[in-house]
Symmetry: C2
Subunit: 228 residues, 2 copies
DNA sequence: AGTCACCGTCTTGTATACACAATATCAGAG
DNA sequence: CTCTGATATTGTGTATACAAGACGGTGACT
């Protein structure tokens, strides 16, 4: 008697491997410039080279690694300018989500959005940046979904994921949490009000600020390095 | 099946295979719903299953096929609504390109853009839709590049590619070529003038129209089917 | 007669083996 | 001592072999 809801956890190893390797890349275990040796990865994860290769190809398609023919896979050195470009695109994608969300959001989704927003508020009051960071992801996801454009949701989510490590760097920035929450408030207001232009502008600004903060951070680090 | 006389592959077979299979998908050789048997593809292209699998994984990451664990790869049935969603995102990406291009385009790029535009004009005057279609691609690519955001260029190009088959359908639409060219003219003017808001709006409208045309076409086809 | 279970076949997923290209190493010449 | 060229080694790219799950058919039981 097989229960219809039985989940045999039947996923390809290569898929799991991809996630594991991705995790190690974004967490800095494999820093930029690292050469990813297939055999070495295979040994590390206790599998053969085949699923490792498939995972690497997947990551390559996602843009997380670079595969040069006959030269193997490497974690690319993503220049600060490159990341800024990505934030620039992210800002526009989020702006679009906001614009559509303001026009299309349902009552249920409004509730879900405000709930996520209040959760962020709690994290802010508790002064728990890590929690805020996670709830922030939920908040933005709610907006994506309210756009009622599933393709857009996928694109935005993918890029959001890819920018995660760089956004994470900003946790420590002074007052970032409070400022972020205030921006969120304005965004929620605009969406609830149905003001698509305002929602769009607010979200664009919100994300653009993150890109600028990242640029600031990079500049600071460079100065720090140069200074000694 | 190694043919020793073939030119030494400077690129992976799987990469070439990916392009070949992609070509067959977008040209309708493998229509939506087709089950892509690995062994069959391997026989077709005269290689083993390994590079075929790698190509399929790549295509899956690009969103062109769906791979369900243990059930193989299939060409997904992309619903009309899904395509419309993609056009909606494309419109926004192009709008962004235009907005940035209006602010950042160099003198050289202006020349290249206008050259591409004039080439389109020639194709319009010659009433050669196929040629116009190809030159149109170049025209848009020029705008992407003028945005001076390489990540945006990649994203826009990828989505443009993915929408190609649906845009191709519109070649036959009455007066589409002339209308398209007029829209291009307005876009070029706005960019050259440096009016980023206008360029953005014009491009958004230009692409949105394509999405609507596609929707029209689908509706017409449906009625046609229903009618007889 | 309909339904369910069991079994065979087929396809995918993974491992291993082999071929070849690219890089590293070392020796010899300038 | 350095530069260059040949050789060795390493690692990728492809093929083949093996294992395991999914689908279809057939048979038995209700």
């Amino acid at each position: 008697m097989n229960s219809p809801t039985e989940i045999p956890a039947v996923t390809r190893q290569s898929e799991r491997l991809g996630e594991l390797i991705e995790e190690r890349i974004v967490t800095g275990v494999y820093p930029p410039g690292t050469r990813l040796d297939e055999q070495e990865l295979a040994n590390t994860f206790g599998v053969s080279r085949t699923p490792v290769r498939e995972a690497l190809i997947q990551l390559s398609s996602a843009g997380l690694i670079e595969i040069r023919p006959r030269r193997g896979a490497t974690v690319p050195e993503v220049g600060a300018d490159r990341v800024c470009e990505m934030f620039e695109v992210m800002a526009e994608l989020e702006a679009m989500c906001g614009r559509l969300a303001a026009r299309r959001i349902t009552a249920d989704e409004q509730l879900a959005l405000q709930e996520a927003h209040r959760a962020c508020e709690a994290a802010r009051d508790a002064n728990t940046p890590d929690v805020y960071y996670q709830l922030n992801e939920v908040f933005h996801q709610r907006i994506y979904e309210a756009s009622h454009n599933s393709f857009l949701v996928e694109q935005a989510t993918a890029l959001h994921r890819r920018l995660r490590p760089y956004r994470r760097l900003q946790l420590r920035v002074r007052n970032r949490m409070a400022t972020s929450f205030n921006e969120h408030q304005a965004i929620v207001d605009a969406i609830v009000k149905g003001d698509s232009d305002l929602a769009s502008a607010q979200l664009r600004a919100h994300v653009t600020v993150q890109g600028e903060r990242f640029a600031d951070l990079v500049a600071t680090l460079r100065d720090f390095k140069a200074g000694g």
